[in-house]
């Protein structure tokens, strides 16, 4: 933890970058209209302007409540979010053209809905920043959060299929015309719980261990609760037929453990367990079927999406995605000039494929680097922040984001078997957007604590009367008395 007190808060740099990002979003909208409609309407800038107002609002909240927060996070995420809205609006325009309707208004269609969800997500993020002034306070509710996480994961499994199933995956709560994906929020709650628990048990986990085959294993009783949480969410997820999320939780669990104990053996154990589990699931799927049949199908499609039995039905989506990316080539067909309509679910899971066709490898890799930078800033906050809880939460959250991008991008490019995941900030969908913006708000809060210089804080009253030490929330450190 080299603490280098920065002298600049970076807020002005953030504002500048934000303006830059919004110019790119507005330009994207203009090119889409030029390609789709053959002209640029007088209202092409409206979505970008509305987004600018929203992000400006968040920027102001950050300026007043987390002045030292990382300056890169908001603009980078805003760019991706803005391009997502732009791409969804592009799909709306394409749909109205094919139906010979007038061009869609700013607030209509999935693009308009995404705009509204962005508003809600940003309000939530701002509220989180306003309420949680110190990320350590979250650890006080760690057990509650753990419980909330499990309940959120379990609700869709318990609900009847009519209230929880969309496209064969039982991971929704549908009330009226409203649908919510509780697993996205469970992710955040579980990170906080894992972080809290592992901070408390860190010493025990890395000191008291049994050595088996040169690898240190912790005692079972120390690990019990976390294993329980993990198994429970995993079991539920297998029954909810969503392996992508299961992989996400498992990766999250292993990485948090690794960060907490600094033992690479955890990564080895995790990878072996994961690949072993996947292989067993594949074999079970081939012979027994049942809950594993779904996974077996996906693995077979992944191995050969162009096989005659898959190419026009189960494998159609992946094949179209690969063809789309191939059509795009190095520089893409240009925003609005491709035909993403061929890819089913292009607005959610396959948004990368649709965008990739239009912006090409060159543009897609720029987007990926932006994701990489977001994750890097999260990990940086984890390295800089001084308390272990903050480190684990920031590290875990940044890693979750990265893993999620990997899982979905690997899926649509045929690198790994496809598992349904939303692309953070890009895909249509309120739950994903809200949860990921909350995650960013938490990262902002932690990076604020990390970058704030030591002078100026409450510790600055040097030489003053001796004050009792600030209360620790719960016992975050255990004093070992010899």
């Amino acid at each position: 933890m080299p603490r280098v007190p920065g002298t600049r808060t970076g807020r002005n740099a953030e504002l500048g970058l934000l303006a830059f990002a919004m110019i790119i979003v507005a330009l994207y909208g203009a090119i889409v209209e030029a390609n789709q409609l053959g002209k640029i309407t007088t209202t092409f800038w409206v979505p970008a302007a509305l987004l600018s107002i929203l992000f400006l609002g968040l920027h102001l909240v950050v300026r007043f409540t987390a002045a030292w927060a990382d300056p890169v996070l908001i603009p980078a995420v805003a760019l991706i979010n803005g391009l997502g809205v732009g791409f969804l609006r592009r799909l709306d325009i394409a749909r109205t053209i094919s139906k010979k309707l007038p061009e869609p208004g700013v607030f209509s269609g999935i693009g308009g809905r995404q705009l509204a969800w962005t508003l809600v997500a940003l309000i939530l993020a701002a509220v989180l920043l306003l309420i949680v002034r110190d990320h350590k306070a979250v650890s006080r509710y760690a057990y509650t959060l753990g419980l909330v996480g499990i309940v959120l994961v379990m609700i869709p499994a318990v609900l009847p299929a009519s209230m929880s199933e969309i496209n064969g995956a039982k991971l929704w709560i549908k009330i009226g015309g409203f649908s919510l994906q509780p697993g996205e929020f469970a992710k955040l709650a579980l990170v906080s719980f894992f972080a809290f628990y592992l901070v408390r048990k860190r010493e025990v986990l890395s000191l008291a261990s049994r050595r088996v085959l040169g690898i240190d294993f912790p005692r079972g009783r120390d690990l019990g609760p976390v294993i329980t949480v993990w198994l429970l969410s995993l079991l539920v997820l297998v029954f909810e037929k969503d392996l992508g999320t299961a992989l996400l939780y498992f990766g999250l669990f292993v990485v948090t453990l690794y960060v907490a104990t600094e033992r690479a053996s955890w990564l080895i154990i995790g990878l072996v367990m994961f690949f072993g589990g996947v292989y067993v699931a594949y074999l079970l799927g081939a012979s027994v079927g049942g809950p594993f049949a779904n996974f077996y199908d996906r693995a077979s499609i992944w191995l050969d999406p162009f096989a005659p039995q898959y190419v026009s039905n189960e494998g159609y989506q992946l094949v179209q995605s690969l063809l789309g990316l191939g059509t795009g080539g190095l520089f893409g067909t240009g925003p609005g000039a491709g035909s993403p309509g061929f890819v089913p679910e292009v607005q959610t899971d396959f948004i990368f494929a649709g965008m990739g066709e239009e912006i090409g490898l060159f543009g897609l890799s720029a987007l990926l680097v932006v994701y990489l930078l977001i994750v890097e800033r999260g990990l940086r906050a984890a390295i800089l922040v001084r308390d272990s809880f903050g480190k684990l939460v920031a590290g875990g959250m940044a890693f979750t984001l990265g893993l999620q991008v990997f899982v979905i991008l690997g899926g649509i490019t045929g690198l790994i078997p496809l598992t349904g995941q939303t692309t953070p900030f890009l895909s249509a969908g309120g739950s994903s957007l809200m949860a990921n913006w909350l995650l960013i708000a938490m990262l902002l809060r932690i990076s604020d604590a990390a970058r704030k210089p030591a002078t100026g804080g409450p510790a600055a009253q040097a030489g003053g009367p001796k004050q009792p030490p600030a209360q620790l929330h719960g016992a975050m450190t255990e004093v070992i008395k010899p």
């Binding site: 002298t7 090119i31 720029a366 975050m476």
Partner: protein, 161 residues
């Protein structure tokens, strides 16, 4: 819309995306080196004189007087540097310490460093295993000369100019 304009827009958009990426990297780079640049701006202990280091002149010029950095020389955090300001520095295992050390022999609130008139004092905060300045146990506020190790458990710290 002429084909030419669309082609320019298409490539212009991609180039703009990458310019954004490099601008972001530029901001991060500035952030990384903020500490190096900030040396002249971070408040130095009183009595150092202005607290402004002339550009290009290393702090070495004021030899023997001002401590600017606290460096961890041994233990798990070896290599960690803290730029000293006017605030006191608390050392211990507690999460809200300035320097959080994960040392089995350190207490939650082990010791603190306090600046007074340009001189830093080390003070033990009732730790279980004690704080040592070089070889001697610290009982009350003790002035810390530059380069003399403060030992806490397995961790060793030094003030550096």
């Amino acid at each position: 819309m002429p084909e030419f304009v669309l082609t320019v827009a298409r490539f212009g958009f991609l180039i703009l995306l990458w310019i954004f990426v490099f601008t972001v990297v530029g901001v991060i780079r500035k952030d990384l080196f903020a500490g190096v640049r900030s040396k002249s701006i971070v408040a130095t202990p009183r009595g150092v004189g202005g607290g402004v280091v002339p550009q290009g002149r290393p702090a070495k010029a004021k030899r023997g007087k001002a401590a600017r950095q606290l460096v961890v020389t041994a233990g798990q955090l070896a290599g960690t540097r803290i730029t000293l300001g006017e605030a006191h520095i608390t050392i211990g295992r507690a999460e809200d310490s300035t320097l959080v050390i994960t040392d089995d022999f350190a207490s939650a609130r082990h010791a603190r460093l306090v600046p007074r008139d340009g001189q830093w004092f080390v003070e033990d905060l009732g730790s279980t295993n004690g704080t040592y300045l070089d070889r001697g146990k610290v009982s009350g506020p003790t002035p810390v000369p530059l380069g003399v190790p403060i030992r806490i458990g397995r961790t060793s710290l030094e003030l550096r100019p």
